[in-house]
């Protein structure tokens, strides 16, 4: 069990957010990422943060999950922020200058904005994955991809691939854990020694994982054919997505948020 992996994990719950239609959640999450770019001053960022924190509060999921969602990306974020601070065009007061490197008031403020954007996007997408079962998410994606059928995009196949991939993430994790244990018992030290020793330690893990994945794929294909699977065209659904009043209200809330952002921006 790999307890550190927060990304892509569903936390069961009974909140308003959990009960929303996955299509609404998916579309609104993407929409949110879009409107983050409207924000360009402190009031707008404060509003966005207040909105996000309220949504998190509504979901009833513990704060620590969101903090943990940011952790794996923190170096990437800091790297971007530092680039922004060091190399953005100078404006306002200049604190430090050396060659092409300039630290200015403008750059610092921009750096903080970038940091806020990252955190907002991660919080919102973490909220989406934590409150939506993966299979519902893939149903939503299938529904939203439907229009692409006119250009002969294989929507059903892609949706099936997605469902299978999501379904087997936990299985693969268990398998990894099992094989790691077996190889540790045979004297492999994972995560120790220099980079070359660590790379060598991965081989006894990766090869058995590949082998078992291929075997499993073959078994799954056989099992599906044995049960009469012949492609997705015309199949009825076990899980049927329903748009409720709360989804409409959520959309209206986002519209109000957008208007407020446009009003408040500099």
């Amino acid at each position: 069990m790999m307890s550190k992996m927060i990304f892509g994990r569903y936390i069961p719950g009974n909140s308003l957010i959990h009960h929303m239609d996955p299509r609404a959640k998916l579309l609104l999450s993407f929409y949110f990422i879009g409107i983050i770019f409207i924000a360009n001053n402190w009031p707008t960022y404060v509003l966005l943060f207040a909105f996000t924190l309220l949504a998190i509060k509504l979901s009833g999921v513990k704060w620590s999950f969101f903090i943990n969602g940011v952790k794996p990306l923190i170096w990437l974020i800091l790297f971007t922020v530092v680039l922004q601070i060091l190399f953005s065009a100078s404006g306002g007061q200049v604190y430090f200058q050396w060659g092409i490197i300039t630290i200015s008031q403008f750059g610092l403020v921009n750096g903080v904005y970038i940091f806020c954007r990252f955190v907002l996007i991660i919080f919102m997408s973490t909220l989406l994955t934590l409150t939506t079962p993966p299979l519902e998410l893939s149903d939503a994606i299938e529904y939203l991809l439907m229009p692409l059928k006119v250009v002969h995009f294989p929507v059903y196949e892609v949706a099936l691939m997605l469902s299978i991939a999501l379904r087997f993430v936990p299985t693969l994790m268990d398998e990894t854990e099992k094989i790691m244990n077996a190889q540790r018992a045979r004297g492999v030290d994972f995560g120790e020694g220099n980079i070359f020793q660590q790379m060598r330690a991965i081989v006894p893990l990766l090869i058995p994982l590949f082998v078992s994945s291929f075997n499993r794929a073959e078994d799954l294909a056989t099992a599906m054919e044995a049960r009469g699977y012949q492609g997705g065209e015309g199949r009825s659904k076990y899980r049927i997505l329903k748009w409720h009043g709360r989804d409409t209200w959520a959309t209206v809330t986002f519209a109000v948020l957008t208007v407020a952002l446009v009003y408040l921006r500099a």
Partner: protein, 294 residues
């Protein structure tokens, strides 16, 4: 090498909504040189306990003493290698751990990790392959070309090649044919005598417990509910049924005889014991008949 658990508790993913307590207040000793069977129905905590035998998991509280090493919740992950050399674990379906190009290299992988030279390890590999009953011709073959049963034996040879003092077996015969099962269980018993091994066997096969073990640990809901000799454990069929465990075939048969009015001084566990007990009770006139041809 004895292994002792003292007030061991273990919780998976503490502090998350997925928190599950797997072991509660475990106090048990696996004596040096014993053949200990670990039984209990699915989800009783057997596999979690097993991973503590090799410090693959560390207790959430309490201590595990393995030989002269004491493992506590704060034991560092470094320097566990020496310990792991002495405890070999054959996991369920061990064939899934094979990865090398040739059988010889795969068996030699363990000893080399513990500091053996390549030449020594390969020599050891050849020896181990014959020990598990496979032909030396297979040494240069790819492990992925072998049959399922052969792969299983190669994986077991890979664990034996580490020359452990304690051998832990997690359902080693699952999925094998009856002949293969018998051969494998006999092989473990033989190895134990030849190399003075301590064996820990996790199994659902009560026949194997009756035939091979001399010490039994019964687990239920993450607790050790009973320890003792197979004799003591299988004495009480009612209690076993309450814990979702069965009887060895022979004992079940003896129970039916008891229901029909026979009595046994000691509950027979193996076929030989049952046969001896029955012979003792036959009227002498039948025995006087002489040779049996069947």
């Amino acid at each position: 090498m004895a292994i002792t658990f003292k007030q061991v508790e273990f919780t998976y993913q503490p502090g998350t909504p997925f928190e599950t307590k797997a072991l509660t207040d475990i106090n048990v000793t696996i004596p040096d040189g014993s053949y200990t069977a670990l039984i209990g129905h699915t989800g009783s905590g057997k596999s979690t306990l097993l991973q503590h035998l090799d410090a693959l998991l560390k207790p959430t509280s309490g201590t595990v003493t393995i030989g002269d090493r004491v493992i506590t919740p704060t034991t560092s992950n470094k320097d566990l290698k020496r310990l792991r050399q002495h405890v070999g674990i054959v996991f369920q379906f061990p064939e899934s751990q094979l990865f090398e190009e040739t059988v010889a290299k795969d068996i030699a992988f363990g000893p080399q990790n513990f500091g053996a030279s390549e030449a020594d390890a390969l020599k050891l590999a050849a020896k181990m392959l014959t020990l598990v009953g496979l032909d030396a011709d297979l040494l240069q073959r790819s492990p992925f070309d072998l049959s399922g049963g052969q792969m299983r034996r190669v994986a077991i040879a890979g664990v034996l090649a580490m020359q452990p003092k304690v051998l832990v077996l997690d359902e080693p015969t699952a999925g094998l044919d009856p002949q293969g099962r018998l051969e494998m269980m006999d092989m473990f018993a033989r190895l134990r005598h030849e190399q003075q091994l301590t064996i820990v066997l996790v199994t659902h096969q009560m026949d194997d417990v009756a035939n091979y073990a001399n010490n039994v640990i019964v687990m239920d809901h993450g607790r050790v509910v009973k320890t003792g000799t197979p004799q003591a454990i299988f004495k009480d069929p009612q209690w076993l049924a309450e814990h979702h465990l069965g009887l060895p075939k022979t004992t079940a048969f003896a129970q039916q005889l008891i229901a029909r009015g026979m009595t046994f001084d000691e509950m027979p566990l193996t076929e030989d014991q049952l046969a001896a007990a029955l012979v003792k009770q036959l009227p002498t006139s039948v025995l006087g008949g002489g040779d049996h041809d069947e």
